[in-house]
């Protein structure tokens, strides 16, 4: 059997279909290896995406190819040679990207594209120079084969994991500063070039260790997706790193497990599990999620409808009571059902009394309604001073009045006006009645 990482003569003989027929635990070595790789890539990925270097992560991963091939040509066996080759190629890529974007007109993203495709092409040509009889499995380089992970690969992962995680733990604060504010990092005397290349080296090293397990393309996915899950879920970098590590590890474990259940290649299964987790984080994240955003918007809308009802009741002449049908007409933004629901909430909170299709204000309701009219007229006065005219004036005030905690500040800034631009009295804070003149315009 060939000892090279990519000459998969032994494993090529049996496809993953057949290998999946073996019991799950038989593959404990690949499992442990993939879980560790998932965790390390997740941690590294946090700094990669925060520094907006996802593309560079992609580039470094692909560009290790010529390094791996050269190492293979020179030393032919041994995992150490492969690591060195990959590190050199990784550093050359990072330096090359820097040189191109600095000394040419092209921006960094284009520089990344130029350098890494060149490195990759170089690697492919070098493969053709390999001595006859050696077999370089390009498919394995690109897509990995977790089930082919052997003792030597596991050992290399076990060696590199504590190095990467240890260095990140040790240099956590400078790396955080570098990611958040690189200018400040340099002004404080941190060697940002060193920190940048250290990240690149750790990335190249991890990618080599990950090659057999997930391959280059999957390594990029496992670098970005779990980190993105962490980014979506938290406001603290420490927690983001933790979430990314756990997401990477869980994706690897569940992916492997599912591969055995549904009979599919394990590498892609791991990536898809991570993708599903990201989809979940995108939709359900407590603060930044799509659902949370929609809930927030709905609450604002409901709040506005409720307040519009109170205002309509305060201003309705007939003893401050109105039928639901009248209210639906008066409240511009509310469909009948929305208005009905808002009335139910208002009566539960004690602002209105709702009987047999009629609404009547309570004292608390009248207070709140009056303060809204006050906020509305203050806003109109303020907007008129900004040279905004009707109908925008009224429409803007109609929306801004709901930010009524600003009313006292506005009042102060305007010098306590008594009359709004439409000639109507601005009720004072705490007033229960409004003196409404008949309006012709609105």
């Amino acid at each position: 059997m060939d000892t090279s990482v990519f000459a998969l003569a032994a494993t090529d003989a049996i496809s993953w279909h057949e290998r999946l027929a073996m019991p799950f635990v038989y593959y404990w070595q690949p499992l442990v290896g993939s879980v560790l790789i998932g965790a390390i890539l997740g941690v590294l990925g946090c700094f990669v995406i925060l520094r907006r270097m996802a593309l560079i992560g992609d580039a470094i991963s692909h560009a290790v190819l010529p390094g791996v091939v050269v190492a293979f040509l020179l030393v032919s066996t041994g995992i150490t040679g492969l690591f060195l080759g990959a590190l050199v190629a990784g550093i050359l890529t990072a330096v090359g990207i820097n040189v191109v974007s600095r000394f040419s007109r092209v921006k960094e993203d284009a520089a990344v594209g130029i350098v890494f495709t060149a490195m990759f092409a170089l690697g492919v040509i070098m493969i053709s120079w390999l001595p006859a009889g050696t077999h370089f499995d390009m498919k394995c380089f690109l897509f990995g084969d977790p089930l082919a992970v052997q003792r030597e690969d596991l050992l290399s992962i076990i060696v590199i994991a504590p190095i990467v995680l240890g260095l990140i733990f040790l240099l956590f604060r400078p790396l955080k500063l570098l990611s958040f504010d690189p200018v400040m990092a340099s002004t404080m005397g941190f060697n940002t070039t060193f920190l940048h290349y250290l990240l690149m080296i750790l990335l190249a090293g991890t990618v080599v260790a990950a090659l057999r397990s997930v391959g280059v393309i999957m390594a990029v996915a496992m670098l970005i997706t779990p980190a993105a899950v962490g980014y979506q879920l938290t406001n603290r970098l420490q927690i983001m790193v933790g979430i990314a590590a756990v997401t990477g590890a869980v994706s690897a474990f569940v992916g492997m497990f599912l591969a055995f259940q549904v009979d599919c290649p394990p590498g892609p299964a791991m990536v898809l599990v991570a993708t599903v987790l990201f989809g979940g984080a995108m939709v359900f994240a407590p603060e930044r999620g799509v659902l949370a955003e929609r809930r927030r918007r709905r609450q604002v809308h409901e709040h506005i409808v409720e307040e519009d009802i109170l205002k309509a009741l305060v201003r309705s002449v007939k003893e401050e009571r109105a039928s639901v049908a009248e209210l639906v007409n008066l409240v511009a933004e509310g469909a009948a059902k929305v208005v009905q629901q808002a009335i139910t909430r208002l009566s539960r909170e004690g602002y209105v009394v709702y009987e047999e299709g009629w609404c009547r204000l309570t004292r608390a309701g009248r207070e709140r309604g009056t303060s809204l009219v006050r906020a509305h007229r203050l806003w109109e006065t303020y907007l008129a001073e900004q040279n905004i005219a009707d109908p925008e004036l009224h429409q803007m005030a109609e929306r801004l009045e709901h930010a009524h905690e600003l009313a006292p500040i506005l009042d102060d800034a305007l010098g306590y006006p008594e009359i709004d631009p439409h000639g109507e009295t601005i009720p004072r804070a705490g007033d229960l009645e409004i003196t409404d003149r008949p309006r012709d315009a609105h």
Binding site: L50, L170, P174, N235, R236, L237
Partner: protein, 265 residues
């Protein structure tokens, strides 16, 4: 007596001294022979049109770029060997407001320079961070994410961070950009407070209105047009020089020299 003498002479060292600094990008000078010095405890505005080299000057003082000619002295030493002496407050636009970080963590970053690569914040660092947050009246927000702050609050957080660096000199890049009058007032009050406490503040400023609030003004357009007390510096003559002066023709000539071949002899 000897002791007294030494102390006095030490005080005479300017906070910042720029000696004939020239900076060129691709042979095109951005700063020409810039020469000035700022005494300890001054609140100084750096004013000039776009492209006057204000941010290049800041970068030279911060030691981020090495001048083509001349030198910068921070309290008599070169910037590289006196890193912790200068604190920098970036423009609001330069900050990634989505970064997963809380208010107190941002301020703690001011301590990183003192902690080195692997140091952990001690109790004294945390106490200092608390004091700095208190000074800018942001203690109630210390666990908030930076995105959840108003524009004025965001500015105050970065002032607190600079304060936590305990540097004798602060450089502020357009701290008043995009803030309302109320916030501007608050920032001016804080800056004055820092300068009274003995700090030297160099403020890149775009607004010509509030000049009288600074101790002195440095009018810059590639070279120093004027430097001194506001009354003597901000004169119509100087403003014309800075904003519509000869530099424009020099620029134009240089652009032609670079792009077109020379005609005849």
């Amino acid at each position: 007596m000897v002791y007294l003498k030494e102390e006095r002479s030490e005080h005479k060292v300017p906070a910042l001294e720029v000696r004939g600094v020239t900076v060129s990008y691709h042979d095109k000078p951005v700063l020409r022979n810039v020469r000035f010095s700022i005494a300890v405890g001054q609140l100084v505005a750096v004013v000039g049109p776009n492209g006057a080299g204000k941010s290049t000057l800041l970068k030279s003082v911060l030691g981020l770029i090495t001048p083509t000619a001349g030198e910068v002295l921070i309290l008599g030493k070169n910037p590289e060997s006196n890193r912790q002496a200068v604190a920098y407050v970036p423009q609001t636009e330069a900050v990634d407001w989505d970064f997963p970080i809380t208010v107190s963590e941002v301020v703690m970053m001011g301590r990183y320079g003192h902690l080195g690569y692997t140091g952990k914040p001690r109790r004294s660092d945390r106490e200092l961070v608390g004091e700095c947050l208190n000074t800018v009246a942001m203690s109630d927000f210390q666990d908030r994410h930076i995105r959840q702050l108003s524009g004025g609050q965001q500015k105050r957080v970065f002032l607190a961070r600079a304060l936590a660096q305990q540097s004798p000199i602060m450089l502020l890049d357009e701290p008043m950009a995009g803030v309302d009058a109320r916030t501007e007032e608050a920032i001016f009050e804080l800056m004055r407070q820092f300068s009274t406490a003995g700090k030297t503040l160099v403020v890149v400023h775009h607004d010509l209105e509030a000049m009288e609030r600074f101790d002195s003004v440095l009018l810059l357009n590639q070279s120093v047009i004027a430097h001194g007390p506001v009354a003597e510096t901000v004169t119509p003559e100087n403003m014309r020089k800075a904003y519509a002066g000869q530099a424009r023709f020099v620029d134009e000539a240089e652009r032609q020299l670079e792009e077109a071949p020379r005609h005849g002899h």
